[in-house]
Symmetry: C2
Subunit: 156 residues, 2 copies
């Protein structure tokens, strides 16, 4: 068991499997990692209880439900307190079209990943949720041509 994390080789194997496919059965995982189903079940329960496994989310094909356009917004904010900025980040994340928000260092403050139906919809989202907001100084928009997301573990 690694002293760093409190997780051993088998825990990592379980995490790797579940990040690849959260719908694997406990029985299948147990077989893959070489444990009895009851032991594997105990480990997964423990990983959840310790806050290592945070949950699982199904992935839907956004094209199919009519969200054909993706964009990235580079948002510049005014000089604000940390509290105001963090609140704006949370408010932004709560917008249904927003898939992700990053508060970053550098020339831009916020990077916002949005999924929309079309250009008209994109215009509406930017106008309603960013340009209208007093804390926002400037929004630069980039269209996403290609995108790849990695859901697995960041270990080779």
């Amino acid at each position: 068991m690694s002293e760093e994390t409190g997780l051993d080789r088998i825990d990592f194997a379980i995490l790797r499997l579940l990040t690849k496919d959260a719908w694997l059965s406990n029985k299948q995982i147990a077989a893959e990692v070489g444990l009895a189903p009851s032991s594997c079940h105990e480990r997964i329960k423990s990983l959840r209880a310790r806050g290592v496994l945070l949950g699982a989310h199904a992935e839907v094909n956004l094209q199919v439900i009519g969200f054909a356009l993706q964009a990235v917004l580079f948002v510049q904010l005014g000089k604000l307190s940390i509290e105001v900025v963090d609140d704006f980040v949370s408010a932004t994340a709560a917008v249904p079209e927003v898939r992700g928000v990053f508060l970053v260092s550098g020339r831009t403050d916020l990077i916002v990943d949005v999924a929309v139906r079309d250009m008209q919809h994109l215009k509406t989202v930017i106008s309603e949720h960013f340009n209208r907001h007093a804390v926002v100084l400037r929004v630069e928009t980039s269209v996403v041509f290609n995108r790849q997301q990695q859901h697995g573990m960041p270990l080779p």
Copy 2:
């Protein structure tokens, strides 16, 4: 049933529940959407078969496994063919530390979201996978201070 998507109100309810928590049982979902378990099961099977539901991924606490630092890389590429660029996007997505890659329009070509252990690790990743690569003209790095991800449906 919506003619646009081939999905009705109940399908959307199922998708909303599963994107929030992919570990909900079929029985629970059936109860929430007001169907018999067998009918609900049939719908979920169909959503998978039609490519609407693409899969599910467990979410792990990256801090706990030692990935304490997140960064966004803004990568500028040379004038290249679409094929070469798409290949580079795929190669980038395959790097374990890379969580997501966006090929975008505008002043930067690639936005890369990475999770690393520390600054030393970040330096290594940028050096090994970007600066070393001939197609990369320039990499600008931003540290991620705060991040929120939305896994649910982009509908109110």
